[in-house]
């Protein structure tokens, strides 16, 4: 790498960091969605305790800053749980917990947005609650959940920038590193801004198209 021209070296560096940002965000979204989906089912169940617990979880993790949650995990894992983990693990755990809070709400709202009549129709043909939920309601809820989930992914991409604060090398930290190396602040920030913008803006346009498509059918 050292023999390559400087521009190429920096390009490679930024692209690698962008890739890490994308991977971290995707991981958070997928894992957070899995947990959030589970929680949403508990949230709409008739079990008062489970419903309230998941409600509290969602309210707490959505209603507090990600940065604070990040620090809690950062300080908590080694001190309280005696776990010596990498910055990546710290960040991943924190973002997964945070995302799960939002996804719980998104899935809950999507399930409840499915027309009541679908439940009635399912029951009328003899289905149980679980059958109605799994075979009829959830498939429809998934379609309703796509636009807000895409929106959440865009949020996660931006929120991943906070990982730079505890030293994790993602796109923002890459920018800070290049800034230190080149003393050219504007160059570094401009590249970082452009990269974030390109990714998030294209996703946001794609999300709008998807939403229109889903509305048509």
């Amino acid at each position: 790498m050292e023999s390559q021209p400087v521009v190429v070296q920096y390009a490679y560096f930024f692209l690698k960091a962008t890739g890490i940002t994308l991977v971290l965000s995707a991981l958070s979204l997928l894992t957070g969605s899995a947990i959030g989906f589970l929680f949403s089912l508990l949230r709409i169940s008739e079990n008062r305790a489970l419903s309230t617990l998941t409600l509290v979880y969602a309210e707490v993790f959505r209603g507090s800053p990600l940065l604070v949650q990040l620090f809690l995990v950062y300080f908590g894992l080694p001190i309280v749980f005696h776990l010596d983990v990498s910055a990546f693990t710290t960040v991943a755990v924190s973002m997964i917990l945070y995302t799960a809070g939002y996804m719980t709400e998104i899935f809950r709202a999507a399930i409840q947005a499915v027309d009541r009549g679908q439940w009635d129709a399912s029951y009328s043909i003899g289905m149980t609650y679980t059958q109605a939920l799994c075979k009829v309601v959830i498939p429809q809820a998934m379609r309703i959940a796509v636009p807000p989930t895409l929106g959440q992914f865009i949020s996660i991409l931006k929120d991943s920038s906070l990982a730079s604060i505890i030293g994790f090398m993602e796109l923002t930290k890459a920018g800070m590193a290049v800034r230190a190396r080149t003393s050219n602040t504007l160059f570094a920030f401009a590249i970082v801004t452009c990269l974030y913008f390109m990714i998030c803006y294209s996703l946001s346009i794609a999300s709008r198209r998807v939403e229109l498509r889903l509305k048509k059918t």
């Binding site: 707490v60 800053p65 865009i154 906070l162 923002t172 920018g175 913008f197």
Partner: protein, 223 residues
């Protein structure tokens, strides 16, 4: 190092004056951000519904730029970036600038949503009565739009307070910054941040309830 961790909150609770200071800074930063952001939002919304191409273009560019880049990067640019252009802002001002521009982009869409929600019908009815453009705006559009945008603006304000935690990174002495400070001095970072966490959650709960109450009092039911 095995064995259970012993929690010790007393070590940090004696720093409560600093915590209060931090809350005060966060609150003032948030209120100012909201006010400035609303101003930007009003201009932005007017721009976004304008029929003139260049006004629409600039306002759309503003909204998309600030909504598709992280607040952290915007803060860094305001604090470190502007410095290289010989504009040296103190931490609070830099944070205010970045956060209000950021919030303004979101508020633009909220306010625009409120204006659109009014609907052609009411506006045509007002015109048919002979009302001028300005009269229609003042007596029909704005009262209705205010009602529509009140809840999302309330949420936006709470979002600003939670987002203010990021300002700690550019040394604004708000709650999170104070927390880092206390944590390092007391060697009790985890307990400190538990307390910080609770403070933010409490702020959220109280403000949410307050806004709901205000909304109910100020606006008579329309639906």
């Amino acid at each position: 190092m095995t064995g259970r961790y012993t929690f010790d909150f007393s070590a940090i609770l004696r720093y409560w004056p600093e915590l209060v200071q931090g809350v005060w800074i966060a609150a003032s930063l948030s209120v100012l951000t909201f006010l400035l952001g609303t101003a930007f939002g009003i201009f932005g919304a007017i721009g976004r519904i304008s029929r003139r191409r260049w006004i629409y273009g600039i306002s759309t560019f503003y909204v998309e730029l600030f909504r598709n880049t992280p607040l952290l990067v915007q803060l860094y640019i305001a604090y470190y970036g502007l410095e290289t252009l010989s504009i040296k802002l103190n931490a609070f001002t830099a944070a205010l600038l970045a956060m209000s521009l950021n919030s303004g982009a979101y508020e633009t869409e909220i306010i625009r949503g409120g204006i659109i929600a009014v609907g052609k019908g009411q506006i045509e009815a007002a015109f048919s009565l002979g009302m001028t453009y300005t009269q229609t705006l003042r007596k029909v559009v704005i009262p209705y739009a205010l009602q529509v945008i009140f809840p999302p603006l309330g949420n936006q304000f709470i979002g600003i307070i939670l987002g203010s935690s990021v300002a700690s990174v550019i040394t604004v002495p708000e709650i999170t910054y104070v927390g880092l400070n206390i944590g390092s001095r007391s060697y009790r970072d985890f307990e400190t941040f538990l307390v910080i966490w609770v403070i933010y959650i409490a702020l959220n709960v109280v403000l949410s309830a307050l806004f709901k109450l205000c909304g109910r009092i100020a606006f008579r039911p329309i639906l």
